[in-house]
């Protein structure tokens, strides 16, 4: 029976496969763990902020 592999980012980092992000990644059975790398949390937060800015920010 195949079991699910869970990846945990180091403190201050976020895991990503380039599309999805998370501090904890519960990989689907059979998914490739090597697709994931760590990026600094600050880089992820900046990316989210930039996306929000590009969408026009909060409504006024």
């Amino acid at each position: 029976m195949k079991t699910r592999l869970t990846l945990y980012a180091e403190e201050g980092y976020v895991l990503t496969d380039g599309v999805h992000y998370g501090r904890v990644i519960h990989l689907a059975v059979g998914a490739d763990a090597s697709a994931y790398r760590e990026i600094p949390q600050a880089e992820y937060d900046a990316m989210l902020a930039a996306e929000e800015e590009a969408q026009g920010g909060d409504a006024v």
């Binding site: 999805h20 501090r23 990644i25 519960h26 990989l27 059979g30 998914a31 937060d45 909060d58 409504a59």
Partner: protein, 280 residues
């Protein structure tokens, strides 16, 4: 009855109906003028009372007439199906948003976008008016509640639509979605933006099947145990290579490690990402 008694009775009536004349004694030749004064007073007070009453009744009748005229036109006498932008914008308030007919959109594009003064439970409000909000024939849910201040929704039936990609985007005040009905075949497009910034969301019940990747509720740090169970339960049991994202804070608050492991074990075909946000 003697003449004196009759005159006294007339004088008593005059004293009762002329203001300030309660203690006045009337001579016979004063009575005709006094009777005219009673008549004039009755006319004036009756007119005043009727005028005030008329204003109230007229105002109410006028308001009701205008309510009917507006909503008959705005909802096409109950036949309107194109509700694109219908209640969008900051001008709609609870006092004004009092539809006359059931709302049955086939197009709900940005229907409540930026409705920042509709800051209440939409389902409760409409139910209180006896109005049904039936989305079962709606084919377009693009940004339906985007940037709105709506706090609660009842049944949102999306089964006629191919996509719910942006439906609740930036609905930052949304706390409850009592029943989000998805298609049973899992073909609807969902996206990262469907629940983007739904930071107040606590309770959602999902029925149907989530069969597409990239749904994210990472912003919903207050999501309840039952809501997360509902979402996980709705994930397709068969499709491979799919991913869903939740708030790490919400999961940690709602589940023990054992409970969480048991829950996600029911959907081994899904990658489940947990995002942690600064300050949560």
């Amino acid at each position: 009855m003697s003449v004196h008694e009759k005159m006294t009775a007339i004088a008593d009536a005059l004293r009762a109906n002329i203001s300030g004349a309660e203690n006045k004694k009337f001579k016979l030749d004063e009575m005709p003028d006094a009777i005219h004064e009673v008549q004039a007073n009755a006319h004036d007070s009756g007119y005043a009372e009727g005028y005030e009453h008329g204003i109230d009744v007229g105002t109410d009748a006028g308001a009701e007439s205008e309510y009917d005229r507006f909503w008959d036109a705005y909802q096409e006498n109950g036949n309107r199906i194109g509700y694109s932008h219908a209640f969008a914008g900051v001008a709609w308030t609870k006092d004004i948003f009092r539809p006359k007919y059931n709302i049955c959109p086939q197009n709900a594009l940005q229907m409540f976008r930026t409705a920042t003064k509709l800051n209440f439970d939409l389902d409760e409000h409409l139910s209180g008016l006896g109005i049904e909000f039936d989305t079962s024939r709606c084919i377009n849910f693009s940004e339906t509640f985007m940037d709105s201040a709506v706090t609660g929704l009842g049944t949102i039936d999306t089964r006629s639509a191919s996509s719910v990609a942006y439906i609740f985007r930036n609905a930052r005040s949304l706390v409850t979605v009592r029943n989000l009905i998805l298609k049973d075949d899992g073909t609807q497009t969902v996206s990262v933006q469907a629940f983007q910034n739904c930071r107040a969301l606590e309770k959602i019940c999902v029925s149907g099947v989530i069969g597409q990747s990239d749904l994210s509720l990472q912003w919903s740090t207050k999501l309840s145990h039952d809501s997360i169970v509902s979402i996980i339960s709705a994930l397709s049991a068969s499709t491979a290579g799919l991913s869903v994202t939740l708030s790490e804070t919400a999961v940690n608050n709602a589940f023990t490690d054992t409970e969480w492991e048991a829950l996600i074990a029911t959907k081994p075909n899904w990658t489940i990402n947990l995002v942690w946000e600064e300050g949560t």
